[in-house]
Symmetry: C2
Subunit: 436 residues, 2 copies
């Protein structure tokens, strides 16, 4: 049994602002050795394709691949995995997939155009990306739900080909992960991981097609490789540890709220669980419940370390102040466990996903509520959004000038172009100004 | 006078695919010395704030700043610049700004919610970012149009505070740039640039507020600094050289098309101008016109170098083949100079902006047509979009379970959570399953 401790803070305290800064401080380790290794792997795969992928995979994942065929799984192989998993798991994955699909269809964007009085047409055309690659971690942390959350928005967006990479260390592969790939209609799975998998997707090899975007979480090598290929392909945000911030008026069962905090803390030792309440006795009750329930958890050691290092129970003046603190934290997950929670929505500026009401456990959002569980972490909800269909679509502007429109706009453009010293711009516009 | 040359290619040639790869090859120089300098500047500004910004600015821009007040311009200073510029320039900037504003309003996204049969509500809330920073290059390349194109979408999105940085080497500042900032309703201008300006915006100093996103083009130091702070703040894409791809049936005046190609080539020596036509004689006529018109341009040396190094006139079988080639290039600007160009829109997959018809010079899009001129370059239109209002908004998922919804979803979530070995997740969901 591990010692239980969790930080207690008071938002009314003068020191609170700097205490909060300290609590939130987190930065991914920018390790020189990791960067150097990743640079080497990226250039090897870029230069030598499959051969390099096979070498690194055999070395890092302790495999005995002879050829690229050894790391390819096609749709029948995925279907076979789907046939092997327990019926209850399959049913749950299918319900979750359908709900995720239904929700994400609301995110589809449409092309639009409008015509101006002189006949000029302006607009925006939406098209899906052609190919995307999904990184799925393998080994100890095997998350079929991540497969659904990454692949389904791409499919809803209309992406032509969805590829997935998942490492298979010591030839271990999760049937649940492969089954989820079957349900999410992934086209091909490559059982490779690490920087070598990111390189294969970014540059292409004889076997792996170059993709337009790489999404999905991974370890420090994967994150570092994604950062390095950013620009060559699109990537999603670099994910930090998972976080929850719960705002509670003190009237939800403290065991429920404690377990919500623990469900975040059990993810990893760096995960962050914060509770804000105006009710000091409720904070005490949650602390007691945390201590009690922690002992019943298989992942007790991880969760207790997370609570001790990064957790906090914070006394606030009222729910408004709690929301101000939350906007500053910009949490990945925000639970608003109060009466009539919808009244607070207009005040919430920064949050990845907002869970309203006492019955909405954050864990529902991780699996099957419908919205995506890939969410901005470490305060990046200030400027980024949940993974969505919009991440797999792109826009092209449309400009179609009528002769009259070209005349009016040509004069304006020529004036501005000459102001910037760009003569050919001005002349090109003026060619279409005929009535001078 | 410089020697004129431009590459001639034939898309029907066996070698064409590899010739095209060579033509498109371009990668930003990843210079170790630049990276090291940028790393030093970023950490100095992070540690010492304004003092470091002042030191670097005095050193690199040859200025004599004594305090941070020396690099701040408020709204009255911007209005004063607006009063100093020529009336024609002001009128043109105002027309351009209004058209850009009107177009971008079509990009505003709305929050949405829907209720399921058991009373569970799902949705997505859209909020603007709080603060954004716009980088505007100073010195020789002074582009007031860039100020409009970067600031107006942020304002339309509802961003609370729009900050701008523009270096002022040797105390030189463009009134046109400041006037554009006034018209675009920028809140504050800081006359600083380089990695030190990016650092100030990313980390904040005593004088410069930390922003949520940094947009706008810059030199290699700026691009490298933006890449380094990515994650700490959002950034736009790293811009490469500008490009145009023109598809013409041969029936547009060759002088017009030649000038369109030149308007791209005059930007810089690395800019790329490509013409695709099924009419070999038309390609000859455009080549002749390029040679002739080049000599009349103030920026002849730059444009001729760009055409020689990176330009191409390409014979294609027909317009369909031209579009296939264009989709592979994924050009920043695509002109479709043919009859009834709108019929080809559904075939166009990858392009930043599409200019339809013989009257739509690309230059109109640079200044005043309405759509943004900040567009994906170097093939990144495969996965990215013009700068837009959506770049300054973000989304939060909303989940509000009814007691019945929490019960149904709780069972599914618990099954999946146990499959992933996450017991606290399962228990947290099960607390809300009451009718067991």
């Amino acid at each position: 049994m591990t010692e239980f401790s969790i930080r207690r803070l008071d938002a009314g305290n003068d020191e609170f602002s700097s205490q909060l800064d300290q609590l939130l401080a987190w930065e991914s380790v920018a390790d020189q050795q990791v960067e150097a290794a990743v640079t080497e792997i990226l250039s090897a795969v870029r230069a030598r394709g499959d051969a390099a992928v096979i070498e690194y995979t055999n070395r890092f994942d302790r495999r005995q691949l002879q050829s690229a065929a050894g790391f390819c799984l096609d749709k029948p192989a995925l279907q076979a995995a789907l046939g092997r998993i327990p019926a209850a798991s399959r049913a749950a994955l299918e319900v979750a997939a359908q709900r995720v699909r239904d929700y994400h269809k609301h995110q589809l964007q449409s092309s639009w155009q409008y015509r101006e009085s002189d006949g000029t047409v302006l607009g925006q055309q939406i098209t899906p990306m052609e190919k995307v690659g999904i990184y799925v971690p393998g080994g100890k942390a095997s998350y079929p739900s991540s497969v659904l959350m990454n692949a389904i928005p791409a499919r809803v967006a209309g992406v032509d080909e969805v590829l997935m990479v998942v490492p298979s260390p010591d030839d271990h592969l999760s049937d649940l992960v492969l089954a989820a790939a079957a349900i999410a209609d992934v086209d091909k799975v490559f059982t490779i991981g690490g920087a070598q998998a990111v390189a294969a997707l970014a540059y292409g090899t004889e076997t792996v097609s170059r993709v337009d975007k790489i999404v999905g979480p991974g370890n420090i090598f994967v994150a570092s490789a994604k950062r390095a290929v950013f620009g060559q392909v699109a990537i999603d945000m670099i994910a930090g540890p998972s976080e929850i911030l719960v705002i509670c008026d003190g009237k939800t069962d403290p065991d429920w709220i404690a377990m919500d905090l623990l469900s975040q803390a059990e993810h990893d030792e760096q995960a962050q669980s914060i509770l804000l309440s105006p009710d000091a006795e409720f904070l005490d009750a949650v602390a007691d419940s945390l201590q009690k329930q922690l002992r019943e958890l298989p992942r007790e050691a991880i969760a207790s370390r997370s609570l001790a290092d990064r957790g906090a129970l914070v006394l606030v003046r009222d729910i408004q102040q709690a929301i101000e603190v939350s906007n500053r934290v910009a949490p990945e997950h925000l639970e608003v466990s109060v009466d009539e929670p919808e009244q607070y929505l207009p005040l919430i500026r920064n949050a990845g996903a907002i869970f309203l009401g006492r019955h909405t456990a954050e864990a529902l959002g991780d699996y099957c509520a419908g919205p995506n569980h890939v969410l901005p972490t470490s305060g990046t909800a200030r400027f980024s959004s949940p993974l969505g269909v919009y991440d797999f679509q792109k826009r092209s502007s449309i400009i179609y000038c009528s002769p009259q429109g070209a005349e009016t706009l040509g004069r304006v453009a020529a004036t501005l172009a000459r102001g910037e010293g760009l003569d050919a711009h001005a002349r090109s516009a003026e060619y279409r100004v005929v009535s001078d």
